[in-house]
Symmetry: C2
DNA sequence: GTGGCATCTTGTCAATGGCAAGATAGGATC
DNA sequence: GATCCTATCTTGCCATTGACAAGATGCCAC
């Protein structure tokens, strides 16, 4: 079905999103070009407009997809440390999605589908934090959630930016686990 | 000197960097246009090229300036908590610089001046961490530095992205202090 | 089989980045 | 003081892009 060579592509919307991931992995979201995506998918330069309206529309869809994938990854984690590591793993494995998700000026933050997906992510994060603070009456869940989110998000962002020194190593999974333990233990 | 209306601007390089900060504050680094900067500075569309070569050149200069400003801010902090809060304050007060600094695909990461400025920032951060770990022989300075950097960077990034829930409040300074204490106390 | 509609194409326009060639000014040298 | 010399800035140009408009195509309901 992906090789249907008629006038109709078959699943152009999906193909464009996949091409966008590829292009963003290569050169970042700034360099993204709708016409380039159209070329990658083998359609005319104006075809993407029908499915996404404009560039912001395409990135909105990509961000929503990203928040859904992130929610899945967080929900599969057993405890907070695992969730933190899963967060970093997600950022590395789905770099393109991640880079768009936290750049709201690139998409329409008021999109309904996106807000719903982001809500699922937030809920998964908060339920992870809840596993920590059951034994301590003085615990501040809000603060703990914010601290956990911050350290995981910060490590992931710095890793993707290539800002971390070489001595951290080449495996983000292990490095993240080591760093996150500093907060969670 | 800023109002010299002759053929020569006076200090076009500085004026363009200032205009870039303004433009990025308004619409993010992605929407930055060299021609728009030229218009803001009152010069022709090709004038910026002489000072910065191309867009990446201008953003390289902006990132280097940012790392210098960050180093100054970190060096003025007394302890690690203060450094963390200063890091977040810097990100909020110099949003445009910060947003470019950690997006290496936008500039030339091999620029000598930029590498030197980034080195000053890193040194300031590490010296802040050193104030923490003097009393504990089992302390892992590398890990602590990474954790501290991650949580400050993550909080700053999430704040700038508008990703934090409303209940965090409107003052990044106080909110950052509260969250960072979770790691540093 | 016919009409309707989603999908895709072609054509066009303004804006942008970048390059080339020329104009101007301010200072160095004599 | 005249002349060159070089950094600075301008004008002109081209390929690429995003967005829009109008038309072509094919699938599906009826």
């Amino acid at each position: 079905m992906t090789s249907s060579r008629g006038y109709h592509h078959g699943d152009l919307r999906r193909a464009l999103l996949a091409a966008a991931v590829e292009a963003i992995d290569e050169a970042g979201p700034t360099a993204l070009s709708l016409r380039d995506l159209a070329r990658r998918a083998g359609v005319s330069h104006a075809a993407p407009a029908h499915h996404f309206g404009d560039k912001a529309g395409l990135l909105t869809a990509l961000a929503a997809e990203g928040f859904d994938l992130l929610a899945e990854a967080l929900e599969a984690a057993d405890d907070l440390l695992a969730a933190g590591v899963a967060y970093v793993d997600f950022a590395v494995r789905h770099r393109a999605h991640f880079e768009v998700m936290f750049r709201p000026e690139l998409y329409r933050a008021d999109d309904a589908e996106l807000i719903a997906a982001r809500g699922r992510s937030s809920a998964a994060l908060r339920s992870g934090v809840a596993t920590l603070s059951t034994d301590d009456a003085s615990a501040d869940t809000d603060r703990d959630a914010l601290a956990a989110w911050s350290i995981a998000h910060g490590f992931a962002t710095l890793w993707l930016a290539g800002a971390l020194p070489d001595r951290v190593g080449a495996d983000p999974h292990d490095a993240a686990r080591t760093v996150l333990r500093r907060l969670f233990d």
